[in-house]
Symmetry: C2
Subunit: 356 residues, 2 copies
DNA sequence: CTGAAAGCGCTTACAG
DNA sequence: CTGAAAGCGCTTACAG
């Protein structure tokens, strides 16, 4: 494992009979090099098996060619929530085109998070992507103070008033939630509950508010909202609370698939038939959701696409192109079998025209 | 987002009235510095808000302070298999102690994988961890030829004959599989099937072979083995094939939780009761498995611990301590409710003493 | 205990 | 089109 006497650009230059500058230029193409010398340079490099030292190049160019991603989620969520792996896959696809890499940090405390951003800012990465945005997210100020280029992934279009000051890639979760509520109402449900994600997150809040608004639009009671934390155990607990009510809901809209699956299992363990007695929907379109019994109606979020788009936006910002907010909306409802009419659907008449 | 005129070690030195070398030494402690000048240095640094440039330090020390991890799995598996997130969390915990970071690459082809390792070797990382080892894994030769320090995570103790030439952190999957088979046999099962992971992986192979051996030890037919690929859809398909047999198994040992959950769901959708008519077991102890109905008997693999141990082994190797193979065995069976006696368990008498 | 200087291995104006 | 040289911002022998 001993470093085998590294060959440097100087060796290649000498071998090819040119200056180091010329070797550099032959590869970068930033200035014309005659075909003949280019050939000699490449031949020498190949023979000596030279590749430019990333460390030296980073110092000379003030660029590291790596992007940072710090995730501050419960390890259990990271381990099962399909969003992160898909999002990272999307990032990778565009990073690979540029010969760049992704630096991943999983942190479990605010202090650790702060330390990580400071470390990243000291020349470890060229920029970062901010995930899981919270209201008045402290990271907005932090990255700007650290001089760390960043783009933020958001669940709704940035409004003129609230300014993160950072280019934002946003999607629109509300359409999908509205559609889910439509599906449920069309099937005859009126007592619909929502198991939200953590409400400190913007996306958790947006989905909750959209749910509430959609229910109100239809003249339905929107008070059946409980907050989960995206883990299976929270899906189980919140569902138990909901089913324990005097008038339990006939349908539950979960903010992610894991909570939905755990909720569904809990219902079943109590002898509640899904979907005959309880309809459920998820969010994320995890691979598993298609292979459940019943298969889970859920929302595909285009996590891969959003990773790619966010990364492209960040690279554009680094190239000092004027940073713009960009819409990345690949959110779509995936209808499967976890919705049915409620037990006594006939007792309720849906006012015509209230839903489409 | 304009770089705010970076302050360098030179600024700090001037401000503190010392040389750049002294500033460096005051922080590294590699040579004694008088308390008084140390104080001046720290004060100056704090006032100027200086932190050493990672890029410059990397070039000067020939160290990047980052470790590479390249995963070559199906995106669907990465998105739901809890192993990776947990393993990465374990890595992070020891990297954080050292102010280091993890460079993650997800690749989808052999060519991309090769390109990535070459890029990593050009001074992007100090070393790599090799996951998902295959038989005669080509990466053993590759990293050595690239001069890239590496440690490999393996599912069994390296035997004297087969030499990867690399320090290995190994666990022993066989005990857990043996225990699972015991559980099933004790419950009265004789027709037990195994849905294996991809057999090109050592760990897939080890579990399969252990299963076969355990069955043979008990005088049972060990031919009911089918190969899955760790995805839910493969869990579904393999289970369908198993249940379609003339004599379907009464129990299925899956190589991971996702396949088990999908298999369980398929069985249920066919009206097969779990566990009354079909016992199933998983592998991984994903958070979800505890919250299923029935909860899944599975195997906790200590992925977090293994990540930490592998990372420590790599750092030790980098510190040129003599690299040793180390056992990281935190594998333990988690008994839950997905095992029951087979439908007509009474028809079979278990020979005394064959199992404990 | 401290300073001056070389060196890490590239890139990039500056001349020609 | 090409070369010589400075510079990126640290660390580390080498002297003292």
């Amino acid at each position: 494992m001993a470093e085998p006497h590294k060959v440097t650009i100087g060796d290649v230059a000498r071998h090819a009979g040119v200056s180091k500058g010329t070797v550099s230029l032959a590869y970068s193409g930033k200035r014309p090099v005659s075909p003949e010398t280019r050939r000699r340079v490449f031949a020498a490099a190949e023979q000596l098996k030279w590749t430019a030292s990333h460390r030296a190049r980073a110092l000379a160019t003030s660029r590291t060619g790596t992007i940072g991603l710090v995730v501050a989620r419960d390890p259990d969520v990271l381990a099962t929530d399909p969003f992160f792996a898909k999002f990272i896959g999307g990032c990778e696809s565009v990073l690979a085109e540029h010969g760049m890499g992704l630096m991943l940090h999983a942190v479990t405390s605010k202090e650790a998070e702060l330390a990580v951003y400071e470390r990243l800012a000291s020349g470890r990465v060229d920029g970062v992507i901010l995930l899981d945005v919270e209201v008045d997210d402290h990271r907005f100020a932090l990255v700007q103070q650290l001089g760390l280029p960043a783009v933020v992934l958001s669940a709704h279009r940035p409004e003129p008033g609230e300014t993160s000051g950072l280019p934002t890639v946003y999607s629109d979760d509300s359409a999908a939630i509205g559609e889910i509520v439509d599906l449920l109402v069309d099937a005859g449900h009126t007592r619909i509950a929502h198991v939200a994600g953590p409400l400190r997150y913007i996306h958790g809040r947006v989905r909750r508010e959209t749910f509430t608004a959609a229910m109100h639009d239809r003249g339905l009671d929107a008070s059946l909202v409980v907050e989960g934390d995206f883990t299976a155990s929270s899906g189980r607990d919140t569902t138990a609370r909901l089913l324990d009510r005097d008038e339990p809901p006939t349908a539950i809209v979960y903010a992610n698939d894991m909570m939905a699956i755990a909720g569904l299992s809990l219902a079943r363990s109590r002898g509640v038939l899904v979907p005959e007695e309880l309809s459920v929907t998820g969010y994320d379109d995890s691979e598993l959701s298609a292979h459940l019994s019943p298969p889970l109606t859920t929302v595909a979020t285009g996590a891969v696409e959003r990773g790619a788009i966010a990364m492209r936006a960040l690279l554009a910002a680094l190239a000092s192109e004027v940073p713009e907010d960009v819409l990345a909306d690949h959110t779509t409802v995936v209808r499967r079998g976890s919705i049915a009419a409620p037990p006594r659907a006939t007792t309720r008449t849906v006012p015509t025209g209230v839903h489409r």
